[in-house]
Subunit: 191 residues, 6 copies
C-alpha cells in the first residue's frame, strides 16, 4: 500500500498518452500533481469517464458560479466524511470565492456559514440530494426557482452532488490522501 491510496499508483510514463497529458497539464498549472489524478489512473477508462463528467459539470458555463459549484462539493463531501474531497475542494473554493474562511465554515456547518439566501437554498437542496434523494419533490424545485434558479441550475446542483456521491465513495474506498499543499492554499485572503 502506498501512502497515497490503498491501491497501486501507476508510474506516469506507463500511462496512456491522453491521461499522461492531462496529468502533465495539471502539474504545470498547479505546481504539483493532485493525488486524485494518480490514484484514479490505475483504471484508465474510469479516469477518463470521471474527469469527463467532472469537466461537464464544474468547468462549463452556467447559472451557478464556479465558486458556488465548489460550495456544493465541500458541503456534501463533508457529509460523506471524504478526507480528500473536503481538503482539495476546500482549497479550490477558497481560491474561487476569494474567501479564506468560507470553505471551513461550510465543511463544519453550512447552516452557520456566511452565505447569501440563494446559496443557502442551493446547499439545502444539495444536502437533500446527498442524503435522501428519493424525497426530492416539486416543492424543492419551486423553492429554488424563487431564488432565480432555472431547472437547468437545479439539474446542475443535483448532478454535482451526485458526482461527488460517487467521488467521495471511491476516495474513501482508496483511503485517498490529499496533497499537503491543499491544506494551506488560498488561506491568505483567498490568494
Amino acid at each position: 500500500m502506498s501512502t497515497v491510496s490503498r491501491f497501486p499508483i501507476p508510474e506516469l510514463d506507463t500511462l496512456p498518452e491522453d491521461i499522461r497529458g492531462r496529468i502533465v497539464a495539471v502539474h504545470e498549472k498547479a505546481g504539483f500533481i493532485p493525488n486524485v489524478f494518480l490514484a484514479w489512473a490505475h483504471r484508465p477508462d474510469e479516469f477518463r469517464a470521471f474527469f469527463a463528467y467532472h469537466d461537464a459539470l464544474l468547468e462549463k458555463e452556467g447559472g451557478l458560479t464556479k465558486a458556488e459549484r465548489e460550495m456544493i462539493v465541500v458541503a456534501t463531501s463533508s457529509l460523506n466524511h471524504c478526507h480528500y474531497c473536503v481538503i482539495a475542494h476546500g482549497a479550490i473554493l477558497r481560491i474561487r470565492a476569494k474567501n479564506p474562511l468560507l470553505a471551513d465554515q461550510i465543511a463544519i456547518n453550512y447552516l452557520n456559514a456566511d452565505l447569501t439566501a440563494r446559496q443557502r437554498a442551493m446547499l439545502d437542496f444539495a444536502v437533500k440530494v446527498a442524503e435522501r434523494s428519493h424525497q426530492v419533490c416539486e416543492e424543492d424545485f419551486a423553492a429554488l426557482r424563487r431564488h432565480g434558479m432555472s431547472d437547468e441550475d437545479v439539474w446542475d446542483i443535483g448532478s454535482i452532488t451526485a458526482l461527488f456521491a460517487l467521488s467521495n465513495r471511491v476516495a474513501n474506498l482508496m483511503a485517498l490522501q490529499p496533497n499537503a499543499e491543499f491544506y494551506t492554499m488560498g488561506r491568505a485572503s483567498g490568494k
Copy 2:
C-alpha cells in the same frame, strides 16, 4: 414535464450522432428504448461520461460475474429508494442470473436472499460503501480476500456501488420512470 422525467426528453433526431447510435443499438437489442438513455441525453456530455463509466465497470471482464455486478446495483439502489434502477437492473439481474426470484429478494432484504457466502460478503461490503464509506477499513478487504476476491474485485464492488450512488441520485432528481417492460422481463424462469 414528460411522464418519463422532470426534465425535457430530447427528440432522437436532434441528438449527436454517437448518442443516437448508441440509443438505436440498444433499441434493436432490447426491443424498446430504456428511459434512462433518453433522459440522460438531455445533457450529451454527461450521457457520454455516465455510459463510459457504466461500461467500464459492468461490461468488462473481471473477477465478478455479470450477475454479481447487477446484484450490487439492485442491493444499493434499493437502499437509495431509486425506482428506476431497482426495476431496470432487477430485470437485468433476473436475466443474467437466470433466476426469476433473486432480484426481488435482494431488493427487499438481501440478508434473507438465496446467496452464496461470497455473494453475501460482497453485498455486505457494497452496502457499507453505499451508507458509510468513510468507515471502510483493512478488515473489510481481509474479509473479501477470505472469499477469494482480489483487490481489483474490491475496487469493482466499491466503484459499482459508487457509480450507482451517482445514478440513483440523478434518477431520483429526474423522478425517472422505468419502462413497463422491465417489470416483467425475466420473470418466467429467468428468460
Copy 3:
C-alpha cells in the same frame, strides 16, 4: 430448519380442525397454500388471533378500498424489509388494484408511485405510524380529514400498519419464505 421457516412446519393433518379448515379453504381458492398459514400454525392460538385481527382489518367493509389497505401493507412492510409480506401482499395489491406496476413502485419509493393525493396522504400517515408513532398528532388527523377520511378510516390506516408491524417482525423472526407463485401473480395487466 425447513426451507420455509426457521421454525417447524406442522403436518396439515395434525392441526386443529378449525385451522386445517381455513388452510384447506385458502388452498382451494388460491391454488396453493401460502407459507404464512403453515408457519404460523406451529402455534395454533397465535394463528387464530393473528388471522382474526387480519380479517377484522383487511376483509371488512369500510372507507378504504381493499386495494388501498394492501398499499398500506406493502409500503410499511417494505420499510421493515419483510421479504414475505412485500412479495405476498404485493401480489394481492396487483390483483386488487388491477395494476401490474403499482406494488413494485410502492415497495421501492411510494413518493414516486402513481397515486392519488388521498392515497399519498394515507401512506404518509402509515409511514409515520410505522416509524415514529409517538409523534402522531392532531395535525395528522386534520390532514387526512381534508382528503375526506373519517376518524374510523384513520383508525384503520393506523391499525393495519400496526398489525403488519407485528406480522413483519414475526415473519423476519421466522425468515419466512414466500411461495414462488406470489412473485408473478397479477403481473399480466393485474390479472
Copy 4:
C-alpha cells in the same frame, strides 16, 4: 375526544357480552378498569383478537418467567415511546418481579439495569426484533441457546416484541392515557 383516547370510549353496557365479561373480571381483580380495555373495545373484533394474542403469549406456561415477559414489554415499549404500555406494564413488572426499581431501570436504559446475563441477552434480542428484525440471524439464536433458551423461547421473545410493536402503535394512535393507579402500583417493595 375523551381524556383517555382520541377515539370514542364505548359505554360498558353497550358492549358484547364476552367483552363486557372480560372487563368486569379485570375490574374485580385489579380494582379499576385499565383504559386499554375500554379503548380497544371500540372495535370488538380487534379487541378479541388482541387479547387472544396477548393471553397466548403472556399468560401461558413456558421457558420465560412472567416477569421476564414483562421485561420485554417494558424495554421495547420504551423504544417506541409508548406512554400507556411503559406505565401499565411497568407496574405489572414491579409486581411480577417483586422489585420496585427494575421497571424504571429497564425503561430508561436496560443496559444499566440489574439483570442476569440471560435476561440481558433476552433483551438484546428483543431490541433487535423491535428495531431491525430483518437482521435477525442464526448467530442470534445461538447466543440465546448459550443461555439455555430453546427455539420456542426465542419465538416467545420475538413474538412478544412483535405484539407490542402492534400495541405500542395502536396506543400511540389513540394517545391512550394510563390510569393513575399504574404509576404507583408495586412501588412499595413490589407489593
Copy 5:
C-alpha cells in the same frame, strides 16, 4: 467497582472542607446523600465546577419556573438514556410541579404529556438543542418569543439542556446508580 459508580467513591472525611460541607448540607435537607455528590467528588475541581454551573442555571431566579427547568432535565436526560438523571430529576420534578404523574409522562414521550403550549414549545426547543443544536435558527427564537419567552429564557433552556448533555454523559460513563429513595419521592400527590 462500587455498586454506585464504576469509579472510586471517596470517604466523606477525606474530602476538602467546601465539598464536605455541601454534602453534609444536602444530607440534612434530603435525608440521604444523592449518589451524584459522592461520585463527582472523586474529582474535587470538577465537582466544584459542575455544581457551580448547576446552581447558576437551576437555582437562580428567572423566567422559567423551577419545575419547568426540571422538565427540561427529564426530557433531555431521557433522550440520552441517563438512568441517574431521569430518576433523580424525575423525583425533583414531581415535587416542584406538585404533580406525581408528569415526570414519567415526560420521560416516556413528552409529546403526549399534560403540558401547556408554552411548556411544549420549551421542550421542543430543548430536544432540538440536545439532538441537533447546529440547526438552531432564528425561527426557533421567534417561536419561543410567541410564548412570551425572552432571549434570556432561551439561553436558559439551551444551557440547561447543554449542562445535562454533560451530566448525562458523565453519569453514563460512571454507570451512576440513583439512590432508591428517588424512585418513590413525590409519588403521593407530589408530596
Copy 6:
C-alpha cells in the same frame, strides 16, 4: 445581534474583576481575545463554572498529552457540527501537536487520520461517549487498558467529551463565530 453571537457581548470594563482579568491575560498571551470569552461573559457565573471545568480537564497534568486532549475536542465537536470549537480547537491542536495537517484530518474523518493505535482507540471511545454514552460498557474500559490507559485516563476522555457536549451546544445556541485568527494559526509546520 452582534456578528459574534446571537446574544449580547458585554463591554470589557463592565465585567467583574476576575473575569476581566482572565480575558486580559488571554489577550496578552494570544494577541487577540477569543470570542468564546466575550460571549460567555454575558453570564458571569456560567463563565466561571465553564472555564473552571475546562481548566480542570485540559490544563492539568495526566496520562493524556495536551495534544491528545485537543484531538478529543476536535473529533467530537465535529460530530456536533460546532463551528467555533472545530476552528478554535483545531488551531490549538495544530500548535500542541506541532502538526499542521492533523486537525483537519480529525475533523473530517478521524478513521483516516494519521494517528497511533492508542489515539485511535481514544477517539473511538470519545465518539461513543459523544453519541451513545448509555452503551458504554466494561469492554470499552478493557480496550483502553490494552493501550496502557488507566481508569483515570478513561475518566478524562469521557469528561472532556462531556464538557464539549455542553460547549458545542452553547456555542451553537449562540451561533458563536470564531475569530479569523484561528483559521490560519499553526498551519506553517505547526508554528
